[in-house]
């Protein structure tokens, strides 16, 4: 993936198995979010191929990729602050609820029925994360705290029953124990959905260690190494990417 002269992703070769939790690690600007954007169709890749579940979805529109079962959260949470909690979550569940123009306007009773069902579904999902939110499901998201907003974003991504979930730095802007609590909630959700695959971008190594089954390290758009958390931590290349090399006397 190339932006004019800058090569954001350089011959990145990554395959993810079903049911895995893959941690994507690397210093800032190493192409992690760009990878997310390429897979979810926001950027059209200048080279290479994206294959999902046997289908080649390179260059598909974001809508098509979402329909295929890939959903995501964003580094800077892009929730619709003016809208209510239920509205934001409902955005993620869209492919099943589209009644078309006439359905929405004329068949109001049918709409009310589906609306009640959807509220039920959303409430059930939120109860998993934060039961306190259930009471104020119609309140605008603007009044919520950072962690609640992160929870809503995850609910939005999960309500459409995706096969693959991209989590982009869920811990950004949150305290340490809040992040841990969020990760526990994600793990509990993962246990219900056997076949859900998660790709997680995270900087806190503690969380990566605890949650992920496999990790991949990116640096300047290239994949340094791949493997379980313990193997990559020991890898000298990774340390160098993060901490830089010890420099001997004469080199200085």
């Amino acid at each position: 993936m190339r932006f004019g002269g800058l090569t954001a992703l350089d011959r990145l070769d990554l395959d993810i198995d079903e049911g895995d939790i893959l941690g994507l690690v690397g210093p800032n600007g190493s192409g992690k979010t760009t990878f997310f954007n390429v897979v979810t169709g926001i950027y059209r890749p200048t080279g290479g191929q994206v294959v999902f579940d046997g289908w080649d979805i390179t260059g598909f529109s974001p809508q098509a990729i979402f329909e295929a079962g890939i959903s995501r959260t964003f580094q800077r949470s892009r929730l619709c602050l003016e809208l209510s909690i239920f509205d934001n979550i409902m955005l993620g569940n869209f492919k099943t609820r589209d009644l078309g123009i006439c359905g929405n306007i004329f068949r109001r009773r049918a709409f009310h029925k589906t609306c009640a069902e959807e509220i039920e579904k959303a409430v059930e999902l939120i109860r998993l994360l934060n039961p306190a939110l259930v009471g104020s499901i119609h309140r605008p998201v603007a009044d919520l705290s950072m962690i609640d907003r992160r929870r809503i974003e995850i609910c939005r991504a999960l309500i459409g029953k995706p096969k693959l979930l991209f989590l982009d730095e869920p811990s950004a802007g949150m305290t340490h124990d809040e992040t841990n609590q969020l990760m526990d909630e994600i793990l509990s959700m993962k246990s219900d959905e056997r076949r859900l695959t998660i790709v997680l971008i995270e900087h806190e190594m503690g969380i990566i260690g605890k949650v992920t089954t496999r990790c991949a390290v990116l640096n300047f758009g290239e994949k340094l190494c791949d493997g379980t958390y313990r193997s990559i931590v020991g890898n000298p290349l990774v340390q160098e990417a993060y901490l830089g090399r010890e420099v001997t006397e004469d080199e200085v």
Partner: protein, 382 residues
């Protein structure tokens, strides 16, 4: 209905509001008008200072269906009070039709975020379509109303391609250019009556000719009563249409498109589809309102649908509070009646009027009745 006590409170509020409106409409000379304006402003300030507003809001939201019925009853009451006063009825009709048109713009801008600076142009296209069809074809007037809407939506679709490709100020320019272009086009094209404009026969519907005076139990009332009822019906239909759009998945999709296109795209919402739907539906509603208004006027010419009229529509939407349906109706009443009532200061009217709008935008940007969070079922939980 929560309980009868609530009903009486709502009824009391509605009565107070409509009594004030009736007195205000009846006021003739400038002293009584100024007195009523001060009374109104004083009343609002009193409500705000006593903190009664939140209570009233909860009351209204709890009994939404009843309040809407009360509002319609009150409006019919006003029409009955002024049944002989042609001028006030004409003003009421204008308020209803303009509100319907601005609701159309609200669907475009308030919901899907598509800026439309040529609102009055589509209003004019509706009017001209009705005029041309009524003059040259035996089409029944009611059909020409629909044709006005359809033509305005079809011509609107020409603008769609540039509007969809541009965003923000750039799409504002595209619609501005169209507004300026259309007025000159109407003025120059002979077959549309050129600068003189076109005359329109009156609306005939099921044998009722809207131009003859209304005769009930022998006594004669102004023919504008028929037009007012037609315009009120159009407004009610547009209001329910817009409210149902907002309270449906379509409304949700349009809001998502307005707030953050990328996020909406990532969740399967086709941005172009909803922008096209909102733009076309809005233009259809504006076209129908334009056709009805032109029939009421019975004569239209290009200088009615200029760029400054489009500005008037957008100012109404902004003053009412973008996206808020009742805000649009309140702002329309304000923007149509105040300049008419202040006819006395004549040539200073426009100066004071635009200064007032400027003050309003700077000091109260959210508008008269800002938009409330969406509730899918009337009177639902909050």
């Amino acid at each position: 209905m929560r309980n009868t006590k609530d009903f009486f409170r709502c009824a009391g509020l509605a009565l107070a509001l409509f009594a004030y409106l009736t007195l205000f409409f009846g006021a003739e000379d400038e002293w009584s008008i100024a007195a009523y304006v001060l009374l109104g402003v004083g009343g609002v300030i009193a409500l705000v200072s006593f903190g009664a507003l939140p209570a009233i809001e909860r009351l209204i939201q709890a009994n939404e269906r009843a309040c809407q019925a009360l509002m319609i009853a009150g409006t019919l009451g006003i029409i009955a009070v002024f049944r002989e006063d042609h001028y006030t009825l004409f003003l009421l009709g204008t308020i209803f039709v303009y509100s319907a048109a601005v609701l159309g713009i609200n669907v475009q801008l308030g919901y899907a975020g598509v800026i439309n600076f040529s609102g009055a142009s589509f209003f004019g296209i509706g009017g001209y379509t009705a005029a041309v069809f009524l003059q040259n074809t035996p089409a029944p007037p009611l059909l020409t109303l629909l044709l006005g809407g359809i033509f305005s939506a079809v011509i609107g679709s020409i603008l769609l391609f540039p509007v969809l490709r541009t965003s923000g100020h750039y799409s504002a320019l595209v619609t501005m250019a169209f507004a300026l272009l259309l007025k000159v086009f109407l003025e120059v094209s002979e077959w549309l009556g050129g600068p003189q404009g076109l005359a329109l026969p009156s609306l005939k519907f099921l044998g009722i000719d809207f131009a003859e005076d209304l005769v009930i139990m022998g006594n004669e009332y102004s023919f504008y009563v028929k037009y007012d009822l037609a315009c009120l019906l159009l407004l009610i239909m547009t209001f329910t249409f817009a409210q149902r759009i907002e309270r449906s998945w379509m409304g949700l999709a349009m809001d998502a498109v307005r707030i953050d296109e990328t996020a909406a795209a990532c969740f399967g919402i086709s941005v172009t589809r909803w922008k096209i739907t909102a733009f076309t539906m809005g233009n259809f509603v504006i076209g129908v309102a334009g056709a009805l208004y032109s029939m009421m006027l019975s004569y239209i010419n290009p200088s009615n649908f200029t760029f400054s009229d489009s500005l008037l529509f957008l100012s109404i939407l902004l003053l009412g509070g973008i996206g808020s349906l009742w805000g649009v109706i309140a702002a329309t009443a304000f923007m149509v009646v105040i300049p008419e009532k202040f006819q006395i200061i004549q040539e200073y009217r426009y100066l004071i009027y635009s200064a007032m709008v400027l003050m309003m935008i700077v000091f109260r940007p959210s508008g008269l009745l800002p938009r409330k969070p969406r509730r899918y079922i009337a009177g639902g939980p909050l």
